[in-house]
Symmetry: C2
Subunit: 341 residues, 2 copies
């Protein structure tokens, strides 16, 4: 920078003004400085600027994984918005490891990110307070269970998601359903499903609820293979399957088809999430769309506002409503006789 200043015959303060685009420098000297910059191939040292201004133009994002479509989309959206605002994304993953999460949390804060977004459920412990004490704005998102009350959390109404899935099936007349859910992680969704049935005086028996570990297509497939024999005769089959994620739903659909059962003619299937594949499955999957991009936008905007000086509090939390997306995998229930045919 000093080199540039000397070459342009000005002081480095003037160079600084030119670089940052401040309008306090004459067009003439600006041109000289810009020429010097070009000749010398100067690029400003953002670390030094960061030290001087206290801002690194970087936002940290801690996510469980990016290997899942849900989080990929959220990360993509956050990165997009940050880029539009001139910010960078420092990404860290927890892999469901609380220890790793805490390590990242402390190292991200001491790296002086301007703000920090934390997704997924793990015990924040004392770190939330440490971060707040350091003055770096922190927000939470995609928090399904027990968010710390002191931090702003932009998340989705997962209970409502379960409810909408259940209500959709109820509106189609389904009474006898089976549930395949990643439990206990998705128990809030299950609560919602139950509420939808309870509204009509129906209940979902415990022995119709099948846990699917990890919510993957593969484990779901296996869970169905395990569950089907338990139903006995075809007439005893559920008329619909409700799942806690689209990945599970896709696995269920494949398993049903491989068993000679047609979706939705024999069994309706509904998922939760609305991952890209849901619209491309055959049949296309009816699901409850979780507004992940909206969540990402809102959380990012909150953080950006906080960086700009707006105070942040638990009052900035918001709960986004999911929406049912009706596609081809669900259909009105038919009498057992017709199904048995």
């Amino acid at each position: 920078m000093l080199d540039v200043a000397r070459r342009a015959g000005v002081t480095k303060q003037t160079v600084s003004n030119v670089v940052r685009g401040r309008q306090v420098v004459s067009a003439e000297t600006r041109a000289k400085v810009e020429a010097a910059i070009a000749e010398l191939g100067y690029t400003p040292n953002m670390v030094a600027r960061g030290l001087a201004t206290g801002s690194t133009m970087t936002v940290g994002f801690l996510v469980p994984t990016i290997a899942h479509p849900f989080y990929s989309e959220v990360v993509e959206e956050v990165e997009s918005l940050l880029e539009e605002s001139g910010y960078h994304l420092l990404l860290a993953t927890t892999r469901g490891d609380g220890e790793r999460a805490r390590r990242h949390l402390s190292s991200l804060s001491s790296r002086s990110v301007d703000a920090l977004l934390v997704a997924g459920d793990f015990d924040l412990g004392e770190h939330a307070d440490v971060l707040r004490a350091k003055g770096v704005p922190v927000a939470l998102c995609a928090w399904e269970i027990d968010p710390p009350p002191s931090l702003p959390v932009v998340t989705i109404d997962y209970e409502e998601a379960g409810f909408l899935a259940g209500r959709h099936l109820r509106e189609l007349g389904h009474e006898r359903v089976a549930v395949f859910a990643d439990l206990p992680a998705h128990r809030v969704r299950l609560d919602g499903m139950r509420r939808a049935f309870a509204l009509d005086g129906l209940s979902v028996p415990e022995d119709r609820i099948f846990p699917v570990h990890g919510a993957s297509l593969e484990t779901a497939y296996e869970a169905v293979e395990h569950a089907l024999p338990l139903f006995g005769a075809a007439g005893r089959l559920p008329t619909a399957v409700i799942t806690s994620t689209d990945a599970i739903a896709l696995g269920v659909m494949q398993a049903l088809r491989d068993r000679g059962l047609r979706v939705p003619q024999d069994v309706s299937v509904v998922g939760i999430d609305d991952i890209p594949q849901a619209a491309h499955a055959h049949p296309t999957l009816t699901t409850v769309a979780l507004p992940k991009r909206r969540m990402a936008r809102q959380a990012t905007a909150l953080l950006l506002a906080a960086i700009a000086g707006e105070p942040l509090s638990g009052a900035d939390s918001s709960l986004l409503s999911p929406e049912i997306v009706s596609r081809a995998s669900t259909t009105p229930v038919r009498p057992a006789a017709a199904r048995a045919r």
Copy 2:
């Protein structure tokens, strides 16, 4: 830091030594300093350290997207290795937009990342030289077409991947195949497929090569719907389909099944990539596994070595070999008569 020093009754240089774990401080004063750190809740300012040392402990990674399983895995692997080495990941996406890529490239370099990894094909232009001139190590990975010769590139032998897919089908006796490929992006893979058939004096006619834009499951499905009528009678169907990615292969399998064709009894299908879903598809998908995690590890290791002082050059480039993963979607060709049955 000065506060800590005063409270511990030492100078800030001593505090610095304690923080960085240097063994030049007595256990006694170390304890005093650590107590002061704990009481004051001091965390070192890494930006200041970065300015003083010239290292930010951050590696930038520029990828086309993270919404695709291929890149998700690569990013996850890179992040893992960086974390193990105490480095952070600054992630930026190009979305196939060269302008956006170049913008990120220059802003990442001026943000003073310690090293930069760039994935995917786009015109690096003059930026490669700018980065090298700045002294920040740059490496390329997952570079399918025309990597700049001056930069080290850790990539996969995509031509070989196409060849292995083709040879696999040849070994099963298939002669009449159709190709569904994302062209021109995957033309190198197509070259490899052709080479496998040429080895036996066979060729893949142009009218059996179907472009699939974007390599998605959906577009592949549509491409098959469009292509099938062109084959006329069942006896004229290809005995196998070779695709340039697993996503395409999955779409092809679904489209075939929805048309009443059995995989692999009527048509064998082979993919390229080995995304997680390939192993969970029904039937499980035979594919050519691209060693993406190995590529990620090697590229990251290269960069870490470069940060440590090892000079980097085009000579550090390496080309990783893919491997065929034989699963259930391919089977030996049967006489047309048997298939027509």
